[in-house]
């Protein structure tokens, strides 16, 4: 279970508070959507969960399965099962996707005290996961994300997620820059990974994604705090009325 308690976050080199007492609980097996206007702190939340530099937690705590993770390095969190699907996945020239993934998977396995996978075992695993998600694994022969289309980048993120088998998946605007077909493939991938042991935090601007990934709960994030929580119908409501109500409330 993910528990975020009264989380206050500011930028490390600026005196600007972005999250102002955010509290949120996501039980295992559930998918929670975070929706909100631009600048409400959605991406900050994703980065702080993953442990990116440049943010300072001034108050509050983040617990994953009862353990505080705010002092952990990003790779320690990854080993604890935290995965962030990036809004803009980074390109790594010269490093084949397969090399990247094998290095990552073995690094995580090592930290979890599991044996490293041999190359044949790894390749078999990649093939299996790719087939299951209907994602062509050929793109993993190319350097990581280099020259990938928007759709390919997001598919690659989902494939990475499937391989690393995280227990807390944070999807940061995974729908941005996707056409309908790509959106469907990505959503189906996510749905295939839904599991009673796995929690999802899906961050999005638009209700559209939630037609494909049906959330258990929808939270409205505005001005650094959760302003409202509801069922999936809340997303439809927002689609109609926009965020004005919440930003006004915040102001």
């Amino acid at each position: 279970m993910l528990e975020i308690k009264n989380l206050h976050v500011k930028l490390a080199d600026e005196d600007r508070e972005i999250l102002k007492g955010l509290s949120l609980t996501v039980p295992k097996g559930e998918v929670h959507a975070i929706m909100g206007p631009n600048g409400s702190g959605k991406s900050t939340l994703a980065y702080v969960l993953a442990g990116r530099d440049g943010y300072e937690v001034t108050d509050g705590d983040i617990l994953w399965n009862g353990e505080s993770i705010i002092d952990m390095e990003p790779d320690e969190r990854a080993a604890k099962g935290v995965f962030l699907a990036f809004q803009y996945p980074m390109e790594i020239p010269g490093v084949a996707g397969l090399t990247f993934l094998r290095t990552a998977l073995n690094a995580v396995r090592k930290k979890r005290g599991e044996a490293e996978l041999t190359t044949p075992a790894f390749l078999k695993l990649v093939k299996e996961k790719g087939q299951k998600l209907n994602i062509d694994v050929d793109m993993l022969k190319r350097p990581v994300n280099v020259g990938f289309s928007g759709g390919e980048k997001k598919r690659s993120e989902i494939l990475q997620m499937a391989l690393l088998e995280p227990t807390l998946c944070v999807l940061d605007e995974t729908d941005s820059g996707l056409d309908i077909d790509a959106l469907r493939v990505v959503s189906e991938g996510v749905n295939a990974l839904r599991d009673k042991e796995r929690a999802f935090v899906v961050i999005t601007h638009y209700q559209r994604l939630l037609n494909y990934i049906v959330p258990d709960k929808v939270h409205v994030l505005a001005d650094g705090r959760i302003q409202k929580t509801g069922g999936k119908e809340l997303a439809l409501e927002l689609e109609k009325s926009g965020y004005a109500e919440y930003t006004h409330k915040a102001a």
Binding site: R52, I92, P93, T103, A104
Partner: protein, 489 residues
């Protein structure tokens, strides 16, 4: 390069005894006095039992050297070297080395462990007393040595120390020594010509494809040859040879100054591939100590359709001053230069190449990858030139620099001189930084910050790594990762 005790013992039996005329037996008892004058040169030559012509050759070099001044154009800074304060022919270091691994710098041992070097080999590399097997004799298995000697002999390939070549093949040495890098070439090459201790000699006869990669690993040599090493490789008409120099393991070495000379000669349709992995002591975290590496390496594509290819992975030394070059004399000859230069801490690298196009339709390719971290300075300096009569020559140059952190520097200094209008020269250069975003992406996937840097850097240098022989590729990959440890906070 896993060596086991048994291997080393066997090698000792097989090869050191055969080396009884060599350098090893003399070195035990004799040290030349400090400083350098004509008598030092005579002393070295006499100790090596050299013929008159070679002594005169050395003396001529020494006369030239005295009239020269140290070059200052490179972007490197170091205190002035007192050439009279050095030993030019000294006693073996076994009397000064640590007595056991327990006395060796633990950091060095840690690095050995990471590279997966066996214990016995670690002793040799660290210069532990009693490890009488020369560093150059570190190799995989003894069968390599025996089969290798037989096979080379069958093929007619000569591969021996340069001292041995002077004795056994004087006509070849006389003909080619100094024909690529003359005694008067530059300050350090002249110094080397006057006082060179030993080095490798390779001759591949016409039409012969050398049946294996030649490596300094395979050659038995005395320990003290490193300082002023002299290498001469000749590929006769239609011959092919691939030569590996160096070692991925860091070597303990009390010499600060290294001034080697390497000469390559490729005759008609011959090909030489020369690969180097250099990992000398770079100095401590404060930039104290470390080897000064002032090397002159040059290949002469003397015949038509000849080819010389340099590949280097440079991670060590406090100062690197090195420009492996090709003189493309033959028509349709080809020169290649692939380089990875990694600098960290307070290291200074000024390295690059020269492609001198003299022959018609000659072509060259330069791929240089510089990686600077810490407080280091990393400079690519290269010359591409086309002679007035060298028509239709082509060059492609690609210089990429990668910066890690904000205290280091990367510099590119290309010189391009086309003296006729048919030359086709291309130059590409990029400078990039490993971004925090890229590292975060890797770390989010589970890589530690060091693993992340190693991965990104290995991607950056992949084009060049692929040029290395297989067994060196994997080791070099590891080595680059280790060299950059601690480069990100």
């Amino acid at each position: 390069m896993a060596a086991v005790q048994e291997t080393i013992d066997q090698v000792r039996k097989i090869d050191v005894d055969q080396y009884k005329y060599g350098f090893e037996t003399l070195i035990d008892s004799i040290t030349a006095p400090k400083g350098l004058d004509e008598s030092t040169v005579r002393f070295i030559s006499a100790k090596k039992g050299e013929p008159e012509w070679l002594l005169n050759w050395r003396l001529e070099a020494f006369t030239r050297w005295k009239a020269m001044t140290e070059p200052t154009w490179a972007k490197v800074h170091y205190p002035k070297i007192d050439f009279q304060d050095l030993y030019y022919y000294s006693a073996p270091k076994s009397t000064e080395g640590p007595k056991s691994l327990a006395e060796v710098d633990p950091e060095l041992l840690e690095t050995y462990k990471k590279l997966g070097i066996p214990l016995k080999e670690q002793e040799v590399l660290a210069g532990v007393q009693g490890s009488r097997v020369a560093v150059d004799a570190v190799f995989d298995s003894v069968s390599v040595v025996t089969t290798f000697k037989d096979e080379l002999k069958k093929a007619g390939v000569i591969f021996c120390s340069i001292s041995e070549a002077v004795r056994e093949h004087p006509e070849l040495v006389k003909k080619y020594l100094g024909s690529v890098v003359p005694q008067s070439d530059n300050f350090y090459a002249s110094l080397n010509s006057a006082v060179f201790s030993d080095g490798s000699f390779v001759y591949v006869p016409p039409g012969v494809r050398c049946p294996m990669e030649l490596s300094t690993y395979f050659r038995i040599n005395a320990k003290q040859t490193g300082q002023f090493e002299r290498t001469l490789i000749i590929a006769d008409r239609g011959a092919y040879v691939s030569y590996l120099e160096g070692c991925t393991a860091p070597m303990r070495d009390e010499h600060q100054l290294h001034a080697a000379v390497v000469e390559l000669v490729a005759l008609d349709e011959a090909e030489i591939k020369y690969s180097t992995v250099q990992n000398w002591y770079p100095g401590d975290a404060q930039g104290k100590g470390g080897v000064y590496n002032f090397v002159t390496k040059r290949g002469d594509c003397r015949g038509h359709h000849s080819k010389i290819s340099w590949t280097q992975v440079e991670t060590g030394s406090a100062i690197t001053w090195k420009y492996p070059s090709c003189i493309l004399r033959g028509d349709y000859s080809r020169g290649e230069f692939y380089s990875i230069a990694v600098s960290n801490g307070y290291q200074q690298v000024d390295s690059g190449t020269k492609m001198i196009h003299l022959g018609k339709n000659s072509s060259s390719r330069i791929i240089s990858k510089g990686i600077a971290a810490g407080y280091s300075q990393n400079t690519y300096r290269g010359l591409v030139s086309a002679h007035r009569k060298a028509t239709n020559v082509r060059n492609f140059t690609n210089c990429d620099s990668l910066l890690i952190g904000d205290k280091c520097g990367a510099h590119t200094v290309p010189y391009i001189e086309a003296k006729n209008s048919s030359a086709h020269f291309e130059h590409e250069a990029t400078t990039s930084k490993i971004s925090d975003d890229m590292l975060f992406y890797c770390r989010q996937r589970g890589l530690s910050s060091e693993e992340a840097v190693a991965l990104v850097v290995n991607g950056f240098v992949r084009d060049v790594l692929q040029q290395l022989p297989m067994e060196f590729m994997a080791e070099s990959q590891k080595l680059i990762g280790i060299s950059l440890e601690g480069s990100v906070g």
